[in-house]
């Protein structure tokens, strides 16, 4: 294994890195140091991390190494599943003792005393947290340009966005500044950056992973997900962080176990190809890449059939009522009273206004206003009420389709990564970037985006797969079968 040589440890996937540490080929400290050095080297340019914790990371790595050493002396020592594995965490997930800014000035100095359940489970399994990654402010955006702390650059082309809102995590994993990273997906914020950065991004089923400690954007849509190099790595993380959490009433106590392909063959797997996802505005190169990937899945034994998700076109307007409505209430707590930015004023109402005015960026303000409007008396039925009804129709679309097929395959994004500033003037243009990813959040179903090749400019193309509720492992298994016979996921950007 050539990668084992010092300096090349970052080329290992999470699974390989864990195997290497278990076999004693290198230590967690060596692995962690490798990543810290790469962060030191490249982060100033990429701005993937907002906060790096070198000391805490090396301390945790040293502790992991001690346990590995003990295991070598005592054969029956139980080793946690992810012992010594470095990870990056999107800055909307609370980690006790580390800043949690959510990409916002209003939380610039906020350090929580608690840790998100998803992160805590990973910590309990032995991970080493490298730092917190950049995000669109409160996860509102599709490019990471809405961060108060500067845009993140796409490692494949640094003039381009990495996608968003989990753009920092995506850029970190793509640039090998972390083996794997946590993201969150409210409308596509894991899948879209995964597509733009050539990664495997898993948006989990709503209710599969606890939202406790995830700073809420749209509570009925928010999910914690993973940005990884391949399906195996994403699966490792899901296995540890998923499951019922008494602190989150929307997590499911006993998730059903669904069939999944095993091994190399996809024989018997039925893939639905929804016509509503192959529309005007979809770039020819992305469509070509996606169709090719579907053909590859067929070559593995799967059967692709055309299906229809007739209410897809309403997902965007429905989403941009429900998500801002929930956000308008979720973000009300940032009032300058107990924590975060406060602009002192003699009058209470002035203090609220000035603090929020100074603390929130323009996109966040826009959504708070849209959401407050949609919920206000006299408009509720026409907007929020109506949106909820249509949301039910969108969910039913998926229920119906998943009676006929096992998964749905479609493009993850209309185009490959766009240039920084390309959508600067028109928020609606930016919203359209999420048109293929929003429906899964409205329906609560799992989604996965994987690298299905590159366009003529060398930018990654994302294939999106969607499954019924709790079919997360099925999606991972299909992705794994695909990644066995392709090598897109092993390609690295030249930094």
């Amino acid at each position: 294994m050539s990668a084992v040589r010092s300096g090349a440890l970052h080329e290992l996937s999470a699974k390989q890195a864990l195997a290497g540490m278990r076999a004693g080929k290198f230590s967690s400290v060596e692995l962690t140091r490798t990543y810290l050095e790469r962060i030191e080297q490249h982060n100033t340019r990429l701005n993937a991390y907002l906060y790096v914790a070198p000391e805490a990371a090396l301390q945790a790595a040293a502790a992991a190494d001690k346990l590995y050493a003990k295991a070598r002396r005592k054969a029956d020592t139980k080793l946690p599943a992810l012992l010594g594995l470095p990870i990056a965490v999107k800055d909307v997930l609370a980690v006790a003792g580390m800043p949690t800014t959510c990409g916002s000035l209003i939380l610039e100095d906020f350090v929580p005393s608690y840790t998100a359940t998803s992160v805590q489970r990973l910590l309990d399994a032995g991970v080493v947290i490298l730092g917190k990654t950049n995000t669109d402010e409160f996860a509102m955006g599709s490019s990471t340009e809405n961060s108060a702390y500067g845009v993140t650059h796409n490692p494949w082309d640094e003039t381009r966005v990495p996608g968003g809102s989990s753009g920092g995590s995506a850029a970190a994993v793509a640039a090998r500044l972390a083996p794997v990273a946590l993201g969150t997906d409210t409308g596509g914020s894991v899948r879209q950056p995964a597509a733009f950065c050539g990664l495997t991004g898993l948006k989990t089923t709503y209710g599969r992973v606890s939202r406790y400690g995830l700073v809420a954007f749209g509570s009925s849509l928010d999910t914690v997900g993973v940005l990884a190099r391949d399906a195996d790595d994403a699966g490792l993380i899901l296995k540890v962080m998923g499951g019922y959490d008494p602190h989150d009433a929307t997590t499911v106590e006993r998730a059903p176990k669904l069939d999944k392909p095993s091994g190399k063959s996809l024989k018997g797997l039925k893939i639905g190809v929804p016509k509503e996802y192959f529309i005007d505005g979809l770039s020819a190169e992305v469509e070509g890449g996606v169709r090719e990937a579907i053909a590859q899945l067929e070559a593995l034994g799967a059967k692709a059939v055309p299906v229809s998700l007739p209410h897809t076109e309403y997902a965007l307007p429905v989403y941009y009522i429900i998500a801002p409505a929930e956000a308008s209430a979720n973000l009300a707590r940032f009032d300058g009273v107990r924590y975060g930015l406060r602009e002192e004023q003699a009058d209470l109402i002035d203090m609220f206004k000035r603090s929020r005015g100074a603390g929130f960026g323009p996109e966040v303000k826009r959504r708070i206003m849209v959401g407050s409007y949609a919920l206000s008396s006299g408009y509720y039925d026409a907007y929020y009420g109506q949106a909820q009804k249509v949301r039910t129709l969108i969910r039913r679309d998926f229920d119906t389709v998943f009676k006929k097929v096992d998964i749905v395959a479609a493009p993850a994004t209309p185009s490959t990564a766009f240039r920084i500033g390309a959508h600067g003037s028109d928020p609606l243009e930016m919203y359209l970037e999420d048109v293929f990813t929003l429906p899964a959040n409205l329906a609560g179903v799992p989604g996965l985006s994987l690298c299905a090749g590159f366009d003529s400019q060398g930018l990654p193309i994302g294939l999106q797969m969607l499954g019924p509720h709790f079919a997360d492992e099925r999606l991972l298994a299909v992705a794994k079968a695909y990644q066995r016979v392709t090598d897109w996921q092993t390609r690295q950007p030249a930094l």
Binding site: V92, L93, A94, T100, C102, L107, F110, P112, S113, Y114, A116, R211, Y212, G213, L214, V215, A216, G218, S219, S220, P246, H247, D248, A249, T250, A325, E326, S328, A329, L331, A332, R333, F334, D335, V337, R338, Y339, L348, I349, F352, S372, L375, S376, S377, Y380, Y384
Partner: protein
């Protein structure tokens, strides 16, 4: 109130559900009127980013108990909603409450009014969380506010009656009846001063005979039943005066100033009160199992109204006395225990001694029934002594005083203090003879038709007996000897 207008009043009552922990987190419910501020606070109830609510099942059970006691229809599926407004005592910027589908609705409550019994409709009963508390202070010329979040997230029950109360008396009795029920089902101790129960009347008036509703004012800050009555009386008069002088009542929230005895328009929390309600996405709908609700229904104690009817029917109590006894479950339990133990005394005698002499002593000392130094059976023992002619009322009062101050058994107190009533005919006969012999003038006067002189003679005998003689026996012996001397 003059006879031109009819008061139309509804009550909105907030009652703390005195569970061990808060509504949506595991912080303890503490007395927020004493002790250090912010000692029962966690990331959830202080509205930290990323925190989620989790429903306290005990609070739901408490709420269901009250709703059932108020004869409500329980919605097996109810929905929590966010009620948004900005205020420093509301950490999340929204209160989790229930809006479109409350826990329970369409109940009723029977109360007493001057015109007899009235059935008051309960519109809805829902669960919500309490806010924190602000204290406004001034120090060194600087005015600022302190936020205490001990109360933030404490479970509250909101009970809303229909506007069907038409007098101050009905308002008071309805509030008392609600408090009594809250206490009976064991969810709330009924303390208004500590804010465990907050009563907000909404008050309007209309010309008698009109069926339309007037514009209502809602009154807050009532921390005693006395304030409730005073504020209601004041507000009715204010509205009447306003209307009579050609003015118009505006819909507003008023605060009661207890010191000045007036209601004052309060500044609203937000310029426009649009709470932007929507279903709380962090909590799935609250689904109750029918069997669970039925189990709670079966576990409910006999409620004050039913108990009162039973006391009237079974024990022959006057409705008023029964009301006084059943108002508190502990008192009613005490009474029933006392009655069950009686050998000679009847239920009415025990009721008289309980609500008369004993309540008098308790009120004077501010003692609750649970704090007495003696048990129900001691009251029975005393009443048995009274009924059996072993001690006369004056002596019994003295015995009760000793029981109240020190405890003990009535029989031994009577013995120790020599309070045994003297009914011995020979002894009484000689005392009466002595008094008649010593007071010839009065005897003559009485025999000549001056009837009140009998009481003088009676008093003389009692004095001779040191107060211990059986009064009835003295009277009959006195009468007999006087009758004999008339012949």
């Amino acid at each position: 109130m003059s006879s031109k207008y009819q008061p139309v009043i509804g009550l909105e009552v907030h009652a703390v559900l005195e569970t061990r922990s808060k509504m949506f987190c595991s912080c303890p419910v503490v007395d927020s009127t004493i002790g250090e501020p912010n000692i029962a606070v966690c990331p959830v109830c202080s509205g930290m980013p990323g925190m989620l609510p989790v429903i306290n099942e005990a609070a739901v059970e408490y709420a269901v108990r009250v709703a059932l006691a108020l004869n409500c229809k329980i919605n097996l599926t109810s929905i929590f909603a966010r009620k948004s407004y900005f205020y420093p005592d509301l950490p999340k910027g929204f209160q989790i409450s229930q809006y479109e589908q409350p826990l329970a609705q369409n109940g009723w409550l029977d109360i007493e009014t001057a015109d007899g019994e009235q059935r008051v409709a309960i519109r809805r009963v829902h669960i919500e969380e309490d806010t924190g508390k602000l204290t406004h202070v001034e120090k060194g010329g600087q005015r600022y506010s302190l936020v205490d979040l001990n109360r933030s997230g404490v479970p509250l029950l909101e009970i809303v009656t229909e506007p069907e109360l038409h007098s101050v008396e009905a308002v008071r009795n309805c509030a008392y009846a609600l408090r009594s029920i809250l206490r009976y089902v064991g969810v709330n101790s009924g303390n208004l001063e500590k804010g465990l129960m907050r009563i907000e009347p909404n008050i309007s008036i209309r010309p008698i005979g009109s069926s339309e509703f007037g514009t209502r004012a809602e009154i807050k800050n009532l921390n005693s039943f006395r304030s409730l009555e005073r504020a209601t009386t004041y507000e009715l008069a204010r509205q009447e005066q306003l209307v009579e002088s050609g003015g118009r009542v505006v819909q507003q929230t008023m605060g009661w100033d207890d010191a000045r005895g007036t209601t004052l328009a309060q500044r609203s929390k937000e310029v426009a009160e649009d709470y932007r309600y929507f279903p709380e996405p962090d909590l799935p709908p609250l689904v109750l199992e029918k069997a669970w609700v039925e189990k709670i229904r079966k576990s409910l104690p006999e409620l004050p109204h039913a108990r009162r009817e039973r006391f009237v029917a079974t024990f022959g109590l006057k409705p008023y006395d029964a009301d006084v006894i059943v108002a508190e479950r502990e008192v009613a339990d005490f009474y029933e225990t006392a009655v069950a133990a009686a050998k000679v005394a009847d239920a009415k005698l025990i009721a008289n001694w309980l609500t008369g002499a004993l309540f008098g002593l308790m009120n004077e000392a501010g003692t609750e029934i649970g704090e007495l130094r003696f048990g129900a059976k001691q009251l029975t023992a005393l009443c048995d002594q009274i009924a059996g002619g072993k001690v006369n009322p004056a002596g019994a009062r003295e015995v009760l005083g000793v029981l109240f101050a020190e405890g003990g058994s009535p029989a031994s107190i009577i013995k120790a203090r020599g309070l045994q009533q003297i009914s011995n005919t020979g002894q009484l006969r000689s005392w009466v003879s002595e008094v008649i012999a010593a007071n010839p003038q009065q005897v003559a006067g009485y025999l000549a038709g001056n009837a009140p002189l009998l009481n003088f003679l009676f008093g003389q005998v009692m004095q001779k007996a040191g107060g211990k003689a059986n009064p009835a026996a003295v009277r009959s012996e006195l009468q007999a000897q006087l009758d004999a001397s008339a012949k």
